[in-house]
């Protein structure tokens, strides 16, 4: 079997799964089902990363998001009141017709833009500084590591400080009641 077409088939399957799962995620009534569909989406994305020769990012994606979504499910169980029958969506009452129209309009515009871009522009892109052969010869993890802790050290540190601030904020809010 031709290798390129094989990869192409896998890509199409993964992409379709990702799209279908994200639609299902947005439309489920039960928040836990939504969270689980999100995991399916992330797995499909991980497959796409694998096809792009980014093994480390694929694995990190699964590792980080699977744990994060479990926390999300826990929060859903602890905080969200789930109605029994499934009828009478609580979010429906507070939402006015105006916001619905605005939302639909923005979606249509964005979709149109995407279609336009996909149809009228050549999407080949230039070859980057890190082609597949070079990354494979050095090692995937090593390439990411040396870039992240070398060239992009400053943005990396800023991002980690941002996360730290988030943690401190969460602790402060949790402790305030005492």
């Amino acid at each position: 079997m031709d290798m390129v077409s094989f990869k192409g088939i896998i890509f199409i399957i993964a992409a379709l799964i990702a799209v279908a799962a994200s639609v299902l995620m947005a439309t489920r009534k039960n928040p836990i089902h939504s969270a689980l569909w999100m995991i399916v989406t992330f797995f499909a994305m991980a497959v796409i990363y694998l096809l792009l020769n980014a093994q480390f990012i694929a694995v990190a994606q699964v590792m980080v998001y699977a744990g994060a979504i479990m926390m999300l499910i826990l929060f859903v169980i602890m905080m969200v009141q789930m109605e029994k029958g499934g009828k009478g969506d609580p979010g429906e009452t507070g939402r006015s017709a105006k916001t619905k129209v605005a939302g639909a309009l923005i979606t249509v515009i964005l979709f149109g833009e995407m279609l336009f871009g996909a149809l009228y522009y050549q999407m080949t892109g230039r070859s980057g500084d890190y082609p597949v052969a070079m990354v494979n010869s050095v090692g995937n993890v090593r390439t990411i590591g040396s870039l992240l802790y070398g060239q992009y050290l400053f943005p990396f540190e800023i991002a980690s400080i941002l996360l730290l601030v988030g943690i401190v904020g969460a602790v402060v809010i949790a402790k305030r009641k005492e």
Binding site: M63, G67, I69, L74, I77
Partner: protein, 323 residues
């Protein structure tokens, strides 16, 4: 046979053969371990354990499997059906993926992936997810409490587990399990990293939900924890996954700290299995020695003792490597 091999290519054929071998091993391993656990438990309590079915009771696990197969599979009416049905199947995905990258011998490995250990760790979080699905899907308060405990426990212990494995990765400069084993030709890493080994072992016992960290399925409080509502073969699948997980964490410990398949005289696979089952025995030994910890103790051990120690160990290793 040769025609098939030439058609799909040698590499694919090897992978398929490996996967079949893994499946057989998983079942065989679980059968042996259920028998061994009861024997170990028996002898530690000055009993004999199973002895009626076959010599030394060796056929007992097969009798148990037949019994479980024959049982009626009950489905409670109010379960969340898709989650309830998927959970026992999904719990097997991480188990099978882990076996793909574990090197049983120098040439006995389904596939050597250059991010091998990360693959295992990433997919192991999927098993917690299926526990959560089982707990939520069962629509039972004991199952849900068990599942929530399991998530809290796994998130707390995944951090020291990772941090304990990192020094070894720093010393070998590789995530590939085979490269890590090959780097232990001289001296096993347990002698360089005794603290990391202890931290890894404690954390892995907690990750597999074994006593003294078996709060997700604490029989005396939660009936059976997350698998309370499962019966027959579905229950057996959870059971099978638990025993396979015990073997996997032991196998990773052997690969990272105890020289993997390396050893004198005997072939590599024998050494690998010997060392792994020795650690499995230690885990069983722990079960019949220690009482269950309290939930606050469980989390304190991880966050206040194991994680800081693992960080100090990591810093020291990094410092010494750079000197």
């Amino acid at each position: 046979m040769e025609q098939i091999v030439s058609m799909i290519g040698w590499k694919t054929a090897k992978t398929i053969a490996g996967l079949v071998g893994v499946l057989i091993f998983v079942v065989f391993n679980a059968l042996i371990l259920t028998w061994a656990e009861r024997k170990v438990a028996g002898h530690m309590q000055r009993r004999i354990g199973p002895k009626e079915v076959g010599p030394y009771g060796l056929i007992q696990p097969i009798a148990d499997a037949l019994k479980l197969l024959g049982k009626e599979i009950l489905t409670p009416r109010a379960v969340d059906r898709p989650l309830y049905f998927l959970a026992p199947i999904l719990i097997f995905v991480p188990v099978l993926v882990s076996f793909i990258v574990i090197p049983f011998d120098a040439s006995l490995q389904v596939k050597d992936i250059n991010v091998g250990i990360l693959v295992i760790l990433a997919f192991s979080s999927l098993s917690v997810l299926s526990i959560l699905m089982a707990g939520w899907g069962s629509n039972n308060k004991y199952a849900l409490i068990g599942a929530i405990r399991s998530v809290a426990q796994n998130i707390a212990y995944e951090i020291p587990l990772l941090l304990a494995l990192l020094p070894v990765i720093m010393m070998t400069n590789s995530f590939s399990l085979k490269a890590i084993v090959e780097a232990q030709k001289g001296l096993w890493f347990v002698f360089y990293q005794p603290l990391a080994f202890c931290i890894y072992f404690i954390a892995s016992v907690a990750e597999t939900n074994r006593t003294p960290f078996d709060l997700p399925e604490a029989e005396s409080e939660l009936v059976a924890g997350y698998h309370t509502e499962y019966s027959g073969m579905r229950f057996a699948l959870f059971f099978l996954a638990e025993y396979t997980n015990i073997f996997i964490v032991s196998a990773i410990a052997v690969t990272f700290f105890l020289g993997g398949y390396q050893g004198p005289f005997l072939p590599g696979i024998i050494w690998f299995l010997l060392k792994s089952y020795l650690l499995v025995f230690v885990i069983m030994w722990l079960r019949w020695t220690f009482p269950r910890v309290r939930f606050d103790q469980l989390l304190n051990i991880s966050w206040k003792a194991l994680i800081p120690l693992a960080f100090i160990n990591l810093l020291l290793t990094g410092g010494l490597l750079k000197l």
